[in-house]
Protein backbone atom coordinates (compact mmCIF):
# COMPACT_ATOMS: atom_id res chain seq x y z
CA UNK A 1 0.00 0.00 0.00
CA UNK A 2 2.74 2.46 0.98
CA UNK A 3 4.74 1.46 -2.08
CA UNK A 4 1.71 1.97 -4.31
CA UNK A 5 1.08 5.45 -2.89
CA UNK A 6 4.75 6.31 -3.32
CA UNK A 7 4.63 5.15 -6.93
CA UNK A 8 1.47 7.18 -7.51
CA UNK A 9 3.07 10.33 -6.13
CA UNK A 10 6.20 9.72 -8.16
CA UNK A 11 4.06 9.27 -11.28
CA UNK A 12 2.18 12.52 -10.66
CA UNK A 13 5.45 14.31 -10.08
CA UNK A 14 6.89 13.01 -13.35
CA UNK A 15 3.74 14.06 -15.23
CA UNK A 16 4.07 17.56 -13.82
CA UNK A 17 7.76 17.63 -14.71
CA UNK A 18 6.90 16.64 -18.28
CA UNK A 19 4.36 19.44 -18.54
CA UNK A 20 6.90 21.92 -17.20
CA UNK A 21 9.50 20.81 -19.74
CA UNK A 22 7.17 21.23 -22.71
CA UNK A 23 5.86 24.57 -21.44
CA UNK A 24 9.41 25.85 -21.20
CA UNK A 25 9.96 24.94 -24.85
CA UNK A 26 6.65 26.61 -25.75
CA UNK A 27 7.93 30.03 -24.77
CA UNK A 28 11.21 29.74 -26.60
CA UNK A 29 11.87 30.93 -30.13
CA UNK A 30 11.26 28.45 -32.95
CA UNK A 31 14.48 27.08 -34.36
CA UNK A 32 13.14 26.49 -37.86
CA UNK A 33 14.88 28.29 -40.72
CA UNK A 34 12.03 29.18 -43.03
CA UNK A 35 13.74 27.77 -46.07
CA UNK A 36 12.74 29.48 -49.28
CA UNK A 37 12.76 32.88 -47.55
CA UNK A 38 15.62 32.28 -45.16
CA UNK A 39 18.72 30.28 -45.85
CA UNK A 40 21.47 29.16 -43.59
CA UNK A 41 24.96 30.40 -44.37
CA UNK A 42 26.96 27.54 -45.80
CA UNK A 43 30.15 26.53 -44.01
CA UNK A 44 33.39 27.79 -45.54
CA UNK A 45 34.45 24.33 -46.62
CA UNK A 46 31.14 23.35 -48.20
CA UNK A 47 31.72 21.17 -51.27
CA UNK A 48 29.48 21.97 -54.19
CA UNK A 49 30.54 21.12 -57.72
CA UNK A 50 33.88 22.62 -58.80
CA UNK A 51 34.16 25.98 -60.57
CA UNK A 52 36.95 27.80 -62.35
CA UNK A 53 38.58 30.65 -60.45
CA UNK A 54 39.55 33.98 -61.99
CA UNK A 55 42.78 35.80 -61.36
CA UNK A 56 41.98 38.80 -59.20
CA UNK A 57 44.32 41.19 -61.03
CA UNK A 58 43.87 40.27 -64.67
CA UNK A 59 40.37 38.90 -64.41
CA UNK A 60 41.27 35.94 -66.62
CA UNK A 61 40.65 32.33 -65.72
CA UNK A 62 43.64 31.04 -63.82
CA UNK A 63 43.52 27.63 -65.48
CA UNK A 64 46.56 26.79 -67.61
CA UNK A 65 45.02 23.62 -69.07
CA UNK A 66 47.76 21.42 -67.63
CA UNK A 67 45.26 18.53 -67.37
CA UNK A 68 46.48 17.47 -63.93
CA UNK A 69 42.89 17.44 -62.71
CA UNK A 70 41.76 15.40 -65.67
CA UNK A 71 44.42 12.84 -64.90
CA UNK A 72 43.93 12.59 -61.15
CA UNK A 73 40.13 12.41 -61.24
CA UNK A 74 39.19 8.93 -59.95
CA UNK A 75 35.76 9.10 -61.56
CA UNK A 76 37.08 10.31 -64.87
CA UNK A 77 34.62 13.16 -65.04
CA UNK A 78 36.76 16.10 -66.17
CA UNK A 79 37.69 17.01 -69.73
CA UNK A 80 40.05 19.98 -70.25
CA UNK A 81 41.20 21.50 -73.50
CA UNK A 82 43.54 24.48 -73.82
CA UNK A 83 45.39 26.52 -76.41
CA UNK A 84 48.22 29.07 -76.42
CA UNK A 85 46.99 32.57 -77.14
CA UNK A 86 49.27 34.44 -79.56
CA UNK A 87 52.18 36.12 -77.80
CA UNK A 88 51.83 34.17 -74.54
CA UNK A 89 53.98 31.42 -73.12
CA UNK A 90 51.21 29.88 -70.94
CA UNK A 91 48.24 27.95 -72.18
CA UNK A 92 44.68 29.15 -71.57
CA UNK A 93 41.68 26.97 -71.04
CA UNK A 94 39.29 26.76 -73.97
CA UNK A 95 37.03 24.02 -72.73
CA UNK A 96 36.40 22.62 -69.26
CA UNK A 97 33.68 19.98 -69.08
CA UNK A 98 32.55 18.39 -65.84
CA UNK A 99 30.37 15.27 -65.69
CA UNK A 100 28.62 16.01 -62.41
CA UNK A 101 26.59 12.80 -62.59
CA UNK A 102 29.81 10.90 -61.88
CA UNK A 103 31.66 13.35 -59.64
CA UNK A 104 31.97 12.21 -56.02
CA UNK A 105 33.25 15.60 -54.81
CA UNK A 106 36.46 14.01 -53.53
CA UNK A 107 38.36 17.23 -54.15
CA UNK A 108 41.51 15.70 -55.59
CA UNK A 109 41.29 18.07 -58.59
CA UNK A 110 41.13 21.11 -56.33
CA UNK A 111 44.08 19.80 -54.34
CA UNK A 112 46.25 18.92 -57.29
CA UNK A 113 45.79 22.12 -59.27
CA UNK A 114 49.22 23.85 -59.41
CA UNK A 115 47.77 27.33 -59.93
CA UNK A 116 44.75 27.09 -57.62
CA UNK A 117 42.42 27.52 -60.56
CA UNK A 118 39.73 25.22 -59.16
CA UNK A 119 37.48 25.76 -56.16
CA UNK A 120 34.34 24.26 -54.72
CA UNK A 121 31.23 26.24 -55.38
CA UNK A 122 28.39 26.66 -52.88
CA UNK A 123 25.66 25.85 -55.36
CA UNK A 124 23.24 23.26 -54.01
CA UNK A 125 19.96 24.27 -55.61
CA UNK A 126 20.55 21.97 -58.54
CA UNK A 127 17.59 20.33 -60.17
CA UNK A 128 16.74 19.36 -63.68
CA UNK A 129 14.43 17.04 -65.53
CA UNK A 130 17.17 16.16 -68.01
CA UNK A 131 20.24 14.15 -67.18
CA UNK A 132 22.15 15.94 -69.94
CA UNK A 133 22.18 19.15 -67.90
CA UNK A 134 24.61 17.68 -65.41
CA UNK A 135 26.34 15.15 -67.63
CA UNK A 136 28.37 17.77 -69.33
CA UNK A 137 28.57 21.03 -67.44
CA UNK A 138 30.60 23.69 -69.23
CA UNK A 139 32.52 25.38 -66.46
CA UNK A 140 33.88 28.10 -68.78
CA UNK A 141 30.34 29.11 -69.66
CA UNK A 142 29.40 28.92 -66.01
CA UNK A 143 32.25 31.23 -65.10
CA UNK A 144 31.06 33.75 -67.72
CA UNK A 145 27.47 33.50 -66.48
CA UNK A 146 28.70 33.99 -62.95
CA UNK A 147 30.44 37.20 -64.02
CA UNK A 148 27.35 38.46 -65.74
CA UNK A 149 25.37 38.24 -62.51
Amino acid sequence: MVAAIKEFCLGLHSLATGLAVTLEQFFRRPVTVHYPWEVLELPARYRGHIVLVRDEQTGRLRCIACKMCERICPSDCIVVEGAKLPGESRKSVTEFKLDFTKCSLCGLCVEVCPVDALAFSKRYNLASTRKADYESMDLCELAKAGDAK
Partner: protein
Protein backbone atom coordinates in the same frame (compact mmCIF):
# COMPACT_ATOMS: atom_id res chain seq x y z
CA UNK B 1 -33.55 40.39 -22.44
CA UNK B 2 -35.45 37.19 -23.15
CA UNK B 3 -36.07 36.42 -26.80
CA UNK B 4 -39.54 35.07 -27.68
CA UNK B 5 -39.71 31.44 -28.63
CA UNK B 6 -39.19 30.89 -32.38
CA UNK B 7 -36.50 33.60 -32.51
CA UNK B 8 -34.73 32.06 -29.57
CA UNK B 9 -34.55 28.73 -31.37
CA UNK B 10 -33.24 30.31 -34.56
CA UNK B 11 -30.71 32.37 -32.64
CA UNK B 12 -29.53 29.24 -30.85
CA UNK B 13 -29.22 27.21 -34.06
CA UNK B 14 -27.35 29.94 -35.91
CA UNK B 15 -25.19 30.74 -32.90
CA UNK B 16 -24.37 27.14 -32.06
CA UNK B 17 -23.59 26.19 -35.65
CA UNK B 18 -21.40 29.25 -36.13
CA UNK B 19 -19.69 28.69 -32.78
CA UNK B 20 -19.02 25.02 -33.49
CA UNK B 21 -17.91 25.69 -37.07
CA UNK B 22 -15.58 28.53 -36.16
CA UNK B 23 -14.23 26.60 -33.22
CA UNK B 24 -13.54 23.54 -35.31
CA UNK B 25 -11.82 25.60 -37.99
CA UNK B 26 -9.77 27.79 -35.71
CA UNK B 27 -9.02 25.20 -33.06
CA UNK B 28 -7.39 23.13 -35.80
CA UNK B 29 -5.32 26.18 -36.66
CA UNK B 30 -4.60 26.78 -32.97
CA UNK B 31 -3.71 23.15 -32.41
CA UNK B 32 -1.25 23.25 -35.30
CA UNK B 33 0.26 26.49 -34.03
CA UNK B 34 0.46 25.24 -30.45
CA UNK B 35 1.94 21.92 -31.55
CA UNK B 36 4.47 23.83 -33.59
CA UNK B 37 5.46 26.03 -30.65
CA UNK B 38 5.87 23.02 -28.39
CA UNK B 39 8.20 21.55 -30.99
CA UNK B 40 9.83 24.94 -31.67
CA UNK B 41 8.56 25.22 -35.22
CA UNK B 42 6.61 28.16 -36.66
CA UNK B 43 3.56 26.11 -37.72
CA UNK B 44 1.36 27.15 -40.66
CA UNK B 45 2.55 30.47 -42.10
CA UNK B 46 1.86 30.38 -45.80
CA UNK B 47 -1.90 30.83 -46.26
CA UNK B 48 -2.77 34.31 -45.07
CA UNK B 49 -1.01 36.21 -42.27
CA UNK B 50 0.33 33.71 -39.70
CA UNK B 51 -1.51 30.98 -41.61
CA UNK B 52 -4.89 32.36 -40.50
CA UNK B 53 -6.61 31.43 -43.76
CA UNK B 54 -5.37 27.83 -43.51
CA UNK B 55 -8.68 26.48 -42.08
CA UNK B 56 -10.56 27.99 -45.02
CA UNK B 57 -8.17 26.38 -47.48
CA UNK B 58 -8.49 23.07 -45.63
CA UNK B 59 -12.28 23.36 -45.60
CA UNK B 60 -12.42 24.07 -49.32
CA UNK B 61 -10.18 21.09 -49.97
CA UNK B 62 -12.37 18.80 -47.88
CA UNK B 63 -15.54 20.10 -49.53
CA UNK B 64 -14.05 19.51 -52.94
CA UNK B 65 -13.41 15.85 -52.20
CA UNK B 66 -15.75 13.02 -53.00
CA UNK B 67 -17.49 11.30 -50.11
CA UNK B 68 -16.64 7.72 -50.96
CA UNK B 69 -18.81 4.92 -49.57
CA UNK B 70 -17.02 1.75 -50.46
CA UNK B 71 -19.10 -1.23 -51.66
CA UNK B 72 -18.76 -3.40 -48.56
CA UNK B 73 -19.63 -0.69 -46.08
CA UNK B 74 -23.01 -0.43 -44.42
CA UNK B 75 -24.30 2.43 -46.55
CA UNK B 76 -26.88 3.90 -44.20
CA UNK B 77 -24.89 3.74 -40.98
CA UNK B 78 -21.72 4.86 -42.74
CA UNK B 79 -23.46 8.05 -43.86
CA UNK B 80 -25.27 8.60 -40.56
CA UNK B 81 -22.25 8.29 -38.27
CA UNK B 82 -20.70 11.72 -39.02
CA UNK B 83 -24.03 13.42 -38.36
CA UNK B 84 -24.50 11.45 -35.14
CA UNK B 85 -21.11 12.46 -33.90
CA UNK B 86 -21.69 16.18 -34.36
CA UNK B 87 -25.33 16.51 -33.33
CA UNK B 88 -24.91 15.69 -29.60
CA UNK B 89 -22.21 18.31 -29.22
CA UNK B 90 -24.60 20.87 -30.72
CA UNK B 91 -27.34 19.73 -28.35
CA UNK B 92 -25.08 20.13 -25.34
CA UNK B 93 -24.37 23.73 -26.25
CA UNK B 94 -28.09 24.50 -25.77
CA UNK B 95 -27.85 24.37 -21.99
CA UNK B 96 -24.37 25.77 -21.41
CA UNK B 97 -24.52 29.27 -19.92
CA UNK B 98 -21.92 31.38 -21.69
CA UNK B 99 -22.84 34.43 -19.69
CA UNK B 100 -25.31 35.66 -17.13
CA UNK B 101 -27.99 36.03 -19.82
CA UNK B 102 -26.41 34.09 -22.65
CA UNK B 103 -27.89 30.64 -22.51
CA UNK B 104 -30.12 29.06 -25.12
CA UNK B 105 -32.21 27.09 -22.66
CA UNK B 106 -32.27 27.54 -18.91
CA UNK B 107 -32.95 23.91 -18.17
CA UNK B 108 -33.43 22.28 -14.78
CA UNK B 109 -31.58 19.10 -15.64
CA UNK B 110 -28.95 20.75 -17.83
CA UNK B 111 -26.08 18.69 -16.46
CA UNK B 112 -27.98 15.46 -17.04
CA UNK B 113 -28.71 16.51 -20.61
CA UNK B 114 -25.03 17.23 -21.25
CA UNK B 115 -23.99 13.80 -20.03
CA UNK B 116 -26.85 12.02 -21.78
CA UNK B 117 -25.93 13.54 -25.12
CA UNK B 118 -22.23 13.34 -24.40
CA UNK B 119 -22.39 9.57 -24.47
CA UNK B 120 -24.05 9.50 -27.91
CA UNK B 121 -20.66 10.50 -29.25
CA UNK B 122 -19.36 7.01 -28.43
CA UNK B 123 -22.24 5.41 -30.25
CA UNK B 124 -21.48 7.47 -33.34
CA UNK B 125 -17.84 6.42 -33.42
CA UNK B 126 -18.90 2.83 -32.86
CA UNK B 127 -21.34 3.10 -35.78
CA UNK B 128 -18.72 4.70 -38.01
CA UNK B 129 -16.14 2.07 -37.17
CA UNK B 130 -18.56 -0.80 -37.52
CA UNK B 131 -20.12 0.42 -40.76
CA UNK B 132 -16.68 0.89 -42.34
CA UNK B 133 -16.13 -2.87 -42.31
CA UNK B 134 -12.44 -2.44 -41.97
CA UNK B 135 -10.39 -4.23 -39.35
CA UNK B 136 -8.72 -1.07 -38.09
CA UNK B 137 -12.04 0.69 -37.79
CA UNK B 138 -13.63 -2.20 -35.93
CA UNK B 139 -10.73 -2.46 -33.49
CA UNK B 140 -10.92 1.28 -32.90
CA UNK B 141 -14.68 1.12 -32.42
CA UNK B 142 -14.31 -1.66 -29.83
CA UNK B 143 -11.64 0.31 -28.05
CA UNK B 144 -13.69 3.47 -27.99
CA UNK B 145 -16.64 1.73 -26.44
CA UNK B 146 -14.68 0.08 -23.65
CA UNK B 147 -12.72 3.27 -23.04
CA UNK B 148 -15.78 5.49 -22.86
CA UNK B 149 -17.72 3.08 -20.71
CA UNK B 150 -14.76 2.92 -18.36
CA UNK B 151 -14.36 6.69 -18.11
CA UNK B 152 -18.03 7.61 -17.98
CA UNK B 153 -18.25 5.99 -14.54
CA UNK B 154 -15.59 8.02 -12.70
CA UNK B 155 -16.78 11.16 -14.47
CA UNK B 156 -20.33 10.65 -13.29
CA UNK B 157 -19.10 9.72 -9.80
CA UNK B 158 -17.19 12.98 -9.61
CA UNK B 159 -20.15 14.97 -10.86
CA UNK B 160 -22.45 13.23 -8.39
CA UNK B 161 -20.04 14.11 -5.61
CA UNK B 162 -20.13 17.73 -6.70
CA UNK B 163 -23.91 17.65 -6.90
CA UNK B 164 -24.11 16.43 -3.29
CA UNK B 165 -22.80 19.80 -2.17
CA UNK B 166 -24.32 21.92 -4.95
CA UNK B 167 -27.79 20.43 -4.87
CA UNK B 168 -28.83 21.49 -8.38
CA UNK B 169 -28.39 20.24 -11.93
CA UNK B 170 -29.18 23.60 -13.46
CA UNK B 171 -25.92 24.85 -14.95
CA UNK B 172 -26.90 28.50 -14.46
CA UNK B 173 -27.62 27.96 -10.79
CA UNK B 174 -24.38 26.02 -10.44
CA UNK B 175 -22.50 29.05 -11.72
CA UNK B 176 -24.50 31.45 -9.57
CA UNK B 177 -23.48 29.48 -6.48
CA UNK B 178 -19.86 30.27 -7.32
CA UNK B 179 -20.29 34.04 -7.29
CA UNK B 180 -18.12 36.31 -5.19
CA UNK B 181 -14.45 35.97 -6.01
CA UNK B 182 -11.98 33.28 -6.95
CA UNK B 183 -12.20 31.59 -3.54
CA UNK B 184 -15.86 30.77 -4.20
CA UNK B 185 -15.12 28.75 -7.33
CA UNK B 186 -15.82 25.09 -6.78
CA UNK B 187 -12.21 24.23 -7.60
CA UNK B 188 -10.95 25.90 -4.42
CA UNK B 189 -14.00 25.55 -2.14
CA UNK B 190 -12.11 23.21 0.15
CA UNK B 191 -14.10 24.22 3.23
CA UNK B 192 -17.22 22.79 1.59
CA UNK B 193 -15.46 19.66 0.44
CA UNK B 194 -11.72 19.22 0.97
CA UNK B 195 -11.55 16.94 -2.07
CA UNK B 196 -12.47 19.61 -4.63
CA UNK B 197 -9.06 19.84 -6.38
CA UNK B 198 -8.93 16.04 -6.58
CA UNK B 199 -12.41 15.97 -8.09
CA UNK B 200 -11.32 18.48 -10.70
CA UNK B 201 -8.26 16.40 -11.54
CA UNK B 202 -10.37 13.25 -11.98
CA UNK B 203 -12.91 15.18 -14.03
CA UNK B 204 -10.16 16.57 -16.25
CA UNK B 205 -8.60 13.15 -16.89
CA UNK B 206 -12.03 11.70 -17.69
CA UNK B 207 -12.74 14.63 -19.99
CA UNK B 208 -9.56 13.88 -21.94
CA UNK B 209 -10.58 10.24 -22.22
CA UNK B 210 -14.21 10.99 -23.11
CA UNK B 211 -13.22 13.35 -25.92
CA UNK B 212 -10.69 10.81 -27.20
CA UNK B 213 -7.79 13.18 -26.87
CA UNK B 214 -4.15 12.21 -26.51
CA UNK B 215 -2.81 10.53 -24.46
CA UNK B 216 -6.09 8.57 -24.62
CA UNK B 217 -6.78 8.88 -28.36
CA UNK B 218 -7.56 5.20 -28.88
CA UNK B 219 -10.22 5.95 -31.50
CA UNK B 220 -7.74 7.39 -33.93
CA UNK B 221 -4.37 6.02 -32.79
CA UNK B 222 -2.64 6.96 -36.07
CA UNK B 223 0.49 4.98 -35.38
CA UNK B 224 -1.37 1.74 -34.65
CA UNK B 225 -4.68 1.83 -36.49
CA UNK B 226 -4.10 4.07 -39.56
CA UNK B 227 -6.87 6.49 -38.57
CA UNK B 228 -8.93 4.13 -36.42
CA UNK B 229 -12.65 4.53 -36.84
CA UNK B 230 -12.16 7.29 -39.43
CA UNK B 231 -9.99 5.25 -41.81
CA UNK B 232 -12.60 4.84 -44.54
CA UNK B 233 -13.96 8.37 -44.38
CA UNK B 234 -13.03 10.88 -47.05
CA UNK B 235 -13.91 14.50 -47.67
CA UNK B 236 -16.40 16.22 -45.43
CA UNK B 237 -17.35 12.94 -43.72
CA UNK B 238 -13.91 12.97 -42.17
CA UNK B 239 -14.23 16.72 -41.75
CA UNK B 240 -17.36 16.26 -39.62
CA UNK B 241 -15.59 13.80 -37.33
CA UNK B 242 -12.84 16.34 -36.98
CA UNK B 243 -15.29 19.15 -36.23
CA UNK B 244 -17.02 16.92 -33.70
CA UNK B 245 -13.75 16.21 -31.93
CA UNK B 246 -13.17 19.89 -31.36
CA UNK B 247 -16.83 20.55 -30.58
CA UNK B 248 -16.64 17.86 -27.91
CA UNK B 249 -13.50 19.40 -26.45
CA UNK B 250 -15.26 22.75 -26.29
CA UNK B 251 -18.29 21.17 -24.61
CA UNK B 252 -16.07 19.28 -22.16
CA UNK B 253 -14.09 22.41 -21.33
CA UNK B 254 -17.32 24.42 -20.93
CA UNK B 255 -18.73 21.89 -18.50
CA UNK B 256 -15.47 21.93 -16.54
CA UNK B 257 -15.61 25.73 -16.49
CA UNK B 258 -19.19 25.70 -15.26
CA UNK B 259 -18.65 23.00 -12.67
CA UNK B 260 -15.29 23.98 -11.25
CA UNK B 261 -14.00 27.31 -12.54
CA UNK B 262 -16.88 29.60 -11.70
CA UNK B 263 -18.44 29.91 -15.16
CA UNK B 264 -18.84 33.54 -16.24
CA UNK B 265 -17.66 35.00 -12.92
CA UNK B 266 -14.68 37.24 -13.30
CA UNK B 267 -11.71 36.81 -10.97
CA UNK B 268 -10.93 40.56 -11.01
CA UNK B 269 -14.22 42.29 -11.76
CA UNK B 270 -13.49 43.90 -15.12
CA UNK B 271 -14.79 42.90 -18.57
CA UNK B 272 -18.17 41.19 -19.21
CA UNK B 273 -18.86 37.66 -17.95
CA UNK B 274 -18.94 36.02 -21.37
CA UNK B 275 -15.39 37.19 -21.95
CA UNK B 276 -14.24 35.47 -18.76
CA UNK B 277 -16.18 32.34 -19.62
CA UNK B 278 -14.39 32.16 -22.97
CA UNK B 279 -11.02 32.90 -21.36
CA UNK B 280 -11.47 29.98 -18.96
CA UNK B 281 -12.83 27.79 -21.73
CA UNK B 282 -9.90 28.40 -24.04
CA UNK B 283 -7.38 28.14 -21.23
CA UNK B 284 -8.74 24.64 -20.63
CA UNK B 285 -8.65 23.90 -24.37
CA UNK B 286 -5.04 25.05 -24.43
CA UNK B 287 -4.23 22.76 -21.52
CA UNK B 288 -5.80 19.87 -23.44
CA UNK B 289 -3.44 20.61 -26.33
CA UNK B 290 -0.56 21.05 -23.92
CA UNK B 291 -1.23 17.58 -22.50
CA UNK B 292 -1.48 16.14 -25.99
CA UNK B 293 1.92 17.41 -27.03
CA UNK B 294 3.56 16.37 -23.77
CA UNK B 295 2.49 12.80 -23.15
CA UNK B 296 2.71 9.87 -25.54
CA UNK B 297 -0.32 7.63 -26.09
CA UNK B 298 -0.82 5.08 -23.32
CA UNK B 299 -1.27 1.41 -23.92
CA UNK B 300 -4.84 0.27 -24.02
CA UNK B 301 -4.81 -1.95 -20.96
CA UNK B 302 -3.06 0.75 -18.96
CA UNK B 303 -5.77 3.13 -19.98
CA UNK B 304 -8.42 0.76 -18.64
CA UNK B 305 -6.35 0.05 -15.52
CA UNK B 306 -6.15 3.75 -14.78
CA UNK B 307 -9.91 3.98 -14.84
CA UNK B 308 -10.93 0.74 -13.13
CA UNK B 309 -8.11 0.52 -10.59
CA UNK B 310 -7.55 4.16 -9.76
CA UNK B 311 -10.18 6.63 -10.91
CA UNK B 312 -13.29 4.61 -10.07
CA UNK B 313 -12.12 3.67 -6.55
CA UNK B 314 -10.99 7.25 -6.02
CA UNK B 315 -14.32 8.57 -7.28
CA UNK B 316 -16.27 6.16 -5.10
CA UNK B 317 -14.12 7.08 -2.12
CA UNK B 318 -14.70 10.76 -2.74
CA UNK B 319 -18.44 10.18 -3.01
CA UNK B 320 -18.54 8.26 0.28
CA UNK B 321 -16.31 10.79 2.03
CA UNK B 322 -18.44 13.70 0.86
CA UNK B 323 -21.64 11.96 1.90
CA UNK B 324 -20.07 11.35 5.28
CA UNK B 325 -19.00 14.93 5.91
CA UNK B 326 -22.39 16.19 4.75
CA UNK B 327 -24.07 13.84 7.18
CA UNK B 328 -21.81 14.78 10.09
CA UNK B 329 -21.98 18.50 9.48
Amino acid sequence: MILPEPYRLIAYLVGALAFVGLNAAYLVWLERKVAARFQRRPGPTEVGPAGLLQPIADGLKLLGKQFVVWPHADRVLFRLAPAFVLAPALMCLAVIPFGHALCARDFNLGLLLVFAFGSVNVLAILLGGWASRNKYSVIAAARVVSQNVAYEIPMLLVVTTLLLTAGTMNLRELVQQQAGGVWNWNLVKVWVNPLMPVLFLIFYVCMLAETNRAPFDMAEAESELVAGAFTEYAGMGFGLFFMAEYANIVVGASVATVLFLGGWHSPVGVMPGTFWFLVKLYALVFSVMWVRWTFPRTQFYRLLNLSWKLLIPAGLGALLFTALILKLR
